[in-house]
Amino acid sequence: MATMPDEPSVRLASRQAPPFAGPPGPVTSRSEHPVRVEEDLMEARHAVRAAALAVDLGLVDQTRVVTAASELVRNAYIHGGGGVLVIEQLSRKGGRGIRLTVSDDGPGIPDLDAALDDGFSTGAGLGHGLGGARRLMHEFDVECPPGGGTTVRVTRWAPG
């Protein structure tokens, strides 16, 4: 294997790219959380924390995942005009994990490379949201289909 274990596998789906591939493992639990009002940001964090606990992530990993969720959900709220968070608990040979999918119907991200660069931000925040979430998770995909909207999907696995 040439890939480093902590290096996130990034597939930056362009506007022409095919949709996401199938799930990497069986989903043992799935929940949906609307991101419509500011209070939903905190609710989303709590739900992610509970799911991270449920798949036996350690304290540092819980903190990573909740922080990444906070960034992605805030992006959907501020840039996407609201959206939805899907939390999935995963189980595969070698360990359990948590996958977060945050979608919004906003204008999309015009320049993904720039958005992933530290310091880039078109709204509130320091511009560390997307790039930061990518570094905190094992797998990271972002998709901006031609019709608009943004879907970010991130996964973190518990150490096997």
């Binding site: 500011e38 903190t63 909740v66 925040g125 320091l126 560390h128």
Partner: protein, 137 residues
């Protein structure tokens, strides 16, 4: 004088020329902004020379909270006040580094006690553990 206002639900205490406050487990964006405003107001109202913010209960710091702490520190410095952020949990510190946030310019301390010492507050001589070593005092 405004007294102890609790717009954010967080008390801000004055000990001499130092303001002492702390953040709870979580901070939403609105509370973070309100906290910044309230603390800045109190710094000028009380003529505080130093501010200690205990964050030992804070379980996550995302980019918004990090920015708020940076802005608060910068604002306070422009007012001539020194801010020390104390007691960051190790998982929070690890996550901040990976997030790419170094909280540049924000002075930190391992514990609130050390932060207070840096601001000129020391334990009284009657304390059993006065000094830096086990055999002091």
């Amino acid at each position: 004088m405004t007294g102890v206002r609790r717009a954010t639900g967080v008390p801000i205490l004055r000990l001499g020329d130092v303001l002492v406050t702390g953040l709870l487990e979580e901070l939403d964006d609105r509370s973070a902004t309100a906290f910044l405003d309230e603390l800045t107001e109190r710094i000028t109202a009380e003529g505080a020379k130093g501010v200690l913010i205990d964050i030992s209960r804070l379980t996550i710091i995302d980019s918004f909270v990090a920015r708020t702490l940076s802005e608060l520190t910068t604002t306070a410095r422009l007012l001539g006040t020194r801010v020390i952020v104390a007691g960051m949990r190790p998982p929070v510190a690890i996550t901040l580094v990976e997030l790419g946030l170094r909280l540049d310019g924000v002075e930190t301390a391992l514990t609130a006690e050390r932060g207070m010492a840096a601001l000129g507050w020391f334990r009284t001589a009657s304390s059993q553990e006065v000094g830096h070593g086990d055999h002091a005092g």
